[in-house]
């Protein structure tokens, strides 16, 4: 199957729904189902395949690339999007105002994951960005508009910086095809200073969406003030596309020296995110800062750049996506049911609603990297590969992990502590949220406790992250 349909179908349905507002909800559901199925279908085969668009052979035309990494990330992103849509529409008064935006964001996220062309990537990033700004302002209060406006400013500056970086690189390499540029980079045909400037600009530009310090000022506002559905998509589906694209681009066309910067910024992001999250008293802002820290963790591994590091990075991205999906949906559920999500109002929740407690605990333990859960496998590889760099890197990462574990356990304890306050009614979880939460929690446990042969898919993905693009450049294009 040509993966272009993953972009084309939602885009076409979004186009139709601008004229047919009544059925736009159904078109969103339809496109989500199509993409989830197509994503799964794509993951059955293996190897790196390039699909040229419009009959122009790369590097002259745009091509889409499917690697072993895409084969995991694409289904994860699409299925999580589908789950978010299910949760959204199971509520009675689901608004149809933003359905088009969701459909467009789905198309652009798939485009970001698939494209092998720097300028095409810019276009999809802009579309995804505009969709994200609109989603960010869907919160009930005016604060979400302020947060969205900040996001808009920072996001536009980021994409301009990225565009500038691409322009510099295009002027030097004469092509926009990532594989073709990667081949030239590895042959040492490009000037080092030009490479450095373009890498810095691209790190800053992509860093905005990948939540890298100091370009991530928008995250806390948007994640805490936006509507539940939008936060779910922005916090669990967007990072899958954004962080993996960051690593794909920087590894393929980045300067070696810039990788040191990626390590420094990644580690700083982890530390800053965890320290601020430790201070938070309500669940959603804790999760927001924890998301920042988790992306820092996935990104500093890109700077290390070995196969093991990239495997860990892919695993961390997926672990974070699955677990954060559950955590954010539990958070929106409690905000709706209990009216608040601070530490005190969650006391005893795990006893009143055992399934909520279970899925929350599993996800929190997985994010904080406890054994028997997927997050532990990822963290093990991450620590192991961080020894490739200076010794201070693993030390900082481990210190941050201590802080992370402490605050996640604070929430778990709040959920399970004996509750002596006024009696609350036994809460029941909506069926679809329960089903999705249990499925995701079961996946986290399964991946955490299965043998390492099962996890070979991830090391294939890590391998693909490191050299699929450049190999493609050498084989397919033959060094044009």
């Amino acid at each position: 199957m040509n993966p272009v349909w993953l972009i084309a179908v939602p885009l076409a349905l979004a186009f139709i729904s601008t004229f047919a507002n009544k059925i736009s909800n159904w078109l969103l559901i339809l496109s989500a189902i199509f993409n989830a199925v197509a994503g799964i279908f794509l993951s059955f085969s293996s190897g790196t395949v390039s699909y040229s668009i419009g009959g122009w052979r790369p590097p002259f035309g745009i091509d889409l690339i499917v690697t072993d990494a895409t084969r995991i990330l694409l289904p994860v992103a699409n299925i999580l999007f589908f789950f978010a849509v299910i949760i959204h529409f199971s509520k009675k008064r689901a608004s149809e105002k933003f359905s088009v935006v969701y459909t467009i964001s789905l198309a652009s996220l798939n485009g970001i994951l698939l494209t092998n062309d720097l300028f095409n990537l810019f276009v999809f990033l802009e579309i995804a960005g505009v969709a994200a700004y609109l989603l960010a302002m869907t919160g009930k209060k005016g604060e979400s508009k302020v947060a969205a406006f900040k996001y808009l400013l920072l996001g536009s500056v980021g994409s301009l910086l990225y565009l500038l970086g691409v322009a510099v690189l295009y002027a030097a390499a004469g092509t926009l095809n990532i594989s073709a540029i990667a081949t030239k980079v590895s042959d040492g045909l490009l000037n080092g200073d030009v490479m450095l400037v373009s890498s810095l600009l691209m790190i800053a530009g992509l860093g905005v969406e990948s939540k890298l310090v100091p370009f991530n000022g928008w995250v806390p506002g948007v994640f805490t003030k936006s509507s539940n559905m939008a936060t779910l998509v922005l916090a669990s589906v967007y990072p899958v596309a954004m962080i993996s694209t960051f690593s794909r681009v920087i590894l393929a066309v980045g300067d070696r020296r810039a990788l040191d910067l990626v390590i420094v910024l990644g580690v700083a992001t982890v530390l800053i995110g965890e320290v601020i999250a430790f201070k938070q008293r309500n669940l959603r802002s804790t999760l927001a800062y924890s998301s920042i820290a988790q992306s820092g963790l996935a990104i500093f591994l890109v700077g290390i750049g070995t196969v093991e590091a990239l495997t860990a990075s892919v695993m961390l991205i997926i672990n974070n996506a699955l677990a954060k999906f559950v955590l954010f949906s539990v958070d929106s559920y409690t905000t709706e049911e209990l009216g608040a999500d601070d530490l005190e109002s969650l006391y005893g929740l795990g006893r009143m609603a055992p399934v909520v407690g279970l899925i929350f605990t599993v996800s929190a333990l997985s994010i904080s990297g406890m054994p028997l859960f997927f997050g532990f496998r990822a963290k093990l590889l991450a620590i192991s590969s961080s020894f490739e760099s200076l010794l201070v890197v693993p030390i900082v990462i481990l210190l941050a992990a201590v802080i992370e574990i402490t605050y996640y356990f604070r929430w778990i304890f709040a959920l399970y502590r004996p509750y002596q306050g006024e009696e609350r009614a036994r809460l029941s979880l909506p069926l679809e949220l329960m089903a999705i939460g249990v499925v995701l929690a079961a996946i986290l446990v399964f991946l955490g406790s299965s043998s390492y042969e099962t996890l070979m898919t991830f090391s294939k993905a890590g391998n693909a992250m490191v050299d699929a693009i450049i190999t493609l450049g050498k084989n397919l294009i033959g060094g044009v």
């Binding site: 406006f149 900040k150 920072l154 500056v157 980021g158 910086l161 450095l196 400037v197 810095l200 600009l201 800053a204 905005v208 100091p214 370009f215 991530n216 000022g217 806390p220 020296r257 040191d260 910067l261 910024l265 800053i272 320290v275 601020i276 999250a277 430790f278 201070k279 605990t361 333990l365 406890m370 054994p371 028997l372 532990f376 496998r377 093990l380 590889l381 620590i383 192991s384 020894f387 010794l391 693993p394 030390i395 481990l398 210190l399 992990a401 201590v402 574990i405 402490t406 356990f409 604070r410 304890f413 709040a414 399970y416 502590r417 004996p418 002596q420 043998s451 390492y452 042969e453 996890l455």
Partner: protein
């Protein structure tokens, strides 16, 4: 059947028991107890002879390695004994499906940890039992989450320190299994050796509750559910001793650190660890004396006894190693028995505050006997097994000539008389409270495990040679000399200990005093209110209870001492302040500031990397 089957079975037992408990908690708890008793019996009787190794993969480079060596067998038997006894003991207590799920996970994790043959396997299974025990601790008492969060932090400091050591080892030595590391570490450079052993040592200190990482024990051990405290104190802290024995004896820390400065035959690093052990003996003892709650008191006695174990295993040598291992056995049994006795009392009276009880000796004689024997053992008085281990440790301290450590050890020994007597007097002796007049002894299911632990303590006190012979096999497997023993005697530096003779003398003394007691005039039972208040009406009678602030003069002596327990909470405040600062810098209210920050970052890094 092998260890791996047992391990997988006990891991799978967790969800199965949870579902079973949803239908019937009694059957689930029964099945749990049966499984634990079975694993103990299986390991104890079959594990001694066959040395087997089993390997399964975790990542491409790393494997789970399980095996039974004499060391594994020794620690596994102790830990499984405590867990299986507690599993039987907890049957009448409050049951819940979540608890049985977590208990099964704790047991499975412990089982995996004590059979591990490499550091990563040890860490992973240890961590499973840690997170399960963390959630288990907060199940019953409302104050527990605030206390258990300290355990979270300290445990993760330890765990990540160990994880660091593991990958550092993998990086520098190319292996993480005990035997390969033991051979390769000798040729590594001094810094590598120091980094590895110190970061593993941090894990030992954290998990055993040794100064300065002892602060979690008081809260976590005391606010844990009553049935779980024996496991937490008797079994889980002993895995720390397993790691310590591995790094000091199996990795020969003595030989590899012999180039560093040596104090009285003990390398600097080992001496530092022993000193920390010594400090925790003193701190644990002083704090235990000052506690008013029986469980907090025993928690601090665990700090003090972990200090003995760390001190003994760090100074090494023939006698201290054997003494340290024997102390692991003794303290596991004694602390489990003490916590069980307190749990039994709490089961009947609903409190653990000592001044709210009294005179329970008449109502709960078996519980009293359990507690009495356990405290005699903790205080190191013959004819219980606790004497022998302390005696052996003193032998080594004398042989090496270590006055500071010997002072700490003797201080702890004498201080333990003070603190163990307090619950004895407060709970079991004195006048019975009016509201406790109708109490009965706990049910048979609870009596049996307490009786077994008591009898074992007395047995190994009468015949320590039996335990020492086993320990000699363990120490021989890592190349340490054996302590010379015969059936009744242990021969050491300053003399020999004839346990049969001493027991006989004790028995004769016991019968003489029993005879005097029988012949003497019967004591008159006085009511609690019938005392020295001279007709004044008592509003708060517990203030007049003699065990309330029993050691007030001693307490006053140490009142002004700096508290060692606040460092973690002040550290947490500092991290929060740092968080506020970082938030102000990196997440300001105005978007132009972020953009300015981003620009500064780009220009700055260009200047740096150019």
């Amino acid at each position: 059947m092998s260890i791996l089957t047992l391990l997988v079975a006990s891991l799978l037992a967790a969800p199965i028991l949870y579902l079973l408990a949803k239908f019937n908690t009694k059957i689930a708890y029964g099945a749990y107890a049966a499984l634990q008793v079975f694993s103990f019996i299986y390991v104890f009787f079959t594990g001694r002879s066959n040395v087997s190794y089993e390997v399964i993969g975790i990542t491409e480079r790393l494997n789970f390695n399980f095996g039974i060596t004499p060391t594994n067998w020794f620690f596994a038997s102790i830990v499984l004994l405590i867990i299986s006894m507690s599993a039987i003991f907890m049957f009448p207590l409050k049951k819940s499906p979540v608890k049985i799920f977590l208990l099964a996970l704790v047991s499975a994790g412990t089982l995996g940890a004590v059979f591990s043959q490499d550091f990563l396997t040890l860490m992973i299974f240890w961590e499973i039992s840690t997170w399960a025990s963390l959630i288990l601790i907060i199940q019953d008492k409302e104050k527990s989450p605030r206390e258990a969060i300290k355990y979270v932090t300290i445990a993760s400091i330890g765990t990540y320190s160990m994880l660091f050591a593991i990958f550092y080892m993998l990086d520098k030595l190319g292996s993480i299994d005990f035997s390969t590391v033991a051979t390769r570490i000798e040729s590594a450079t001094v810094e590598v050796q120091l980094v590895i052993l110190i970061s593993l040592g941090v894990m030992v200190l954290a998990k055993m509750g040794v100064f300065p990482l002892h602060i979690w024990l008081r809260g976590s051990h005391s606010s844990a559910p009553d049935e779980f405290s024996p496991i937490l104190s008797g079994a889980l802290t002993k895995i720390g001793a397993f790691l310590l024995f591995t790094i000091t004896a199996a990795l020969p820390s003595f030989r590899i650190f012999s180039q560093l400065p040596v104090f009285n035959g003990i390398p600097m690093v080992n001496y530092t660890f022993a000193l920390l052990g010594g400090i925790s003996i003193v701190v644990g003892t002083v704090m235990a004396i000052r506690m008013e709650d029986a469980k907090e008191l025993i928690a601090f006695s665990t700090v003090s006894n972990s200090g003995y174990i760390v001190m003994a295993l760090s100074i090494g040598g023939t006698y201290a190693t054997a003494g340290g291992l024997m102390h692991v056995l003794n303290h596991a049994m004694a602390s489990a028995a003490m916590f069980m006795a307190i749990a039994a009392v709490a089961y009947r009276t609903g409190t653990t505050k000592m001044h709210e009880m009294g005179g329970l000796i008449l109502k709960m004689p078996v519980t009293f006997a359990t507690y009495l024997v356990a405290i005699i053992s903790v205080a190191g008085i013959p004819p219980t097994s606790g004497f022998v281990s302390k005696w052996l440790i003193y032998q080594q301290l004398v042989q090496n000539g270590l006055p500071f450590l010997a002072f700490a050890a003797f201080f702890g020994s004498i201080g333990s008389f003070m603190y163990v007597f307090k619950p004895l007097a407060g709970i079991f002796l004195g006048q019975l409270k009016p509201q406790h007049r109708n109490l009965k002894e706990v049910p048979l299911v609870m009596v049996v495990p307490m009786a077994i632990l008591t009898l074992l303590t007395v047995f190994w006190g009468m015949l320590p040679s039996n335990a020492i012979k086993t320990i000699n096999a363990v120490t021989a497997s890592v190349g340490i000399n054996a302590v010379e023993v015969t059936f009744s005697r242990i021969v050491a530096l300053t003399g020999e200990w004839d346990s049969i003779l001493v027991t006989t003398v004790f028995a004769i003394g016991f019968f003489i005093s029993l005879f005097i007691f029988m012949r003497a005039k019967k004591a008159r039972q006085v009511d609690l209110m019938d005392n020295y208040t001279a007709g004044d009406f008592l509003y708060t009678s517990e203030l007049y209870h003699f065990s309330y602030r029993m050691y007030r003069p001693f307490d006053r002596l140490f009142e002004k001492w700096p508290s060692m327990e606040d460092w973690l909470s002040s550290l947490s405040d500092k991290i929060k302040e740092l968080g506020a600062l970082l938030k102000a810098i990196f997440y300001p209210a105005n978007p132009q500031l972020y953009i300015g920050l981003a620009m500064v970052a780009i220009i700055g890094t260009f200047w740096w990397l150019r």
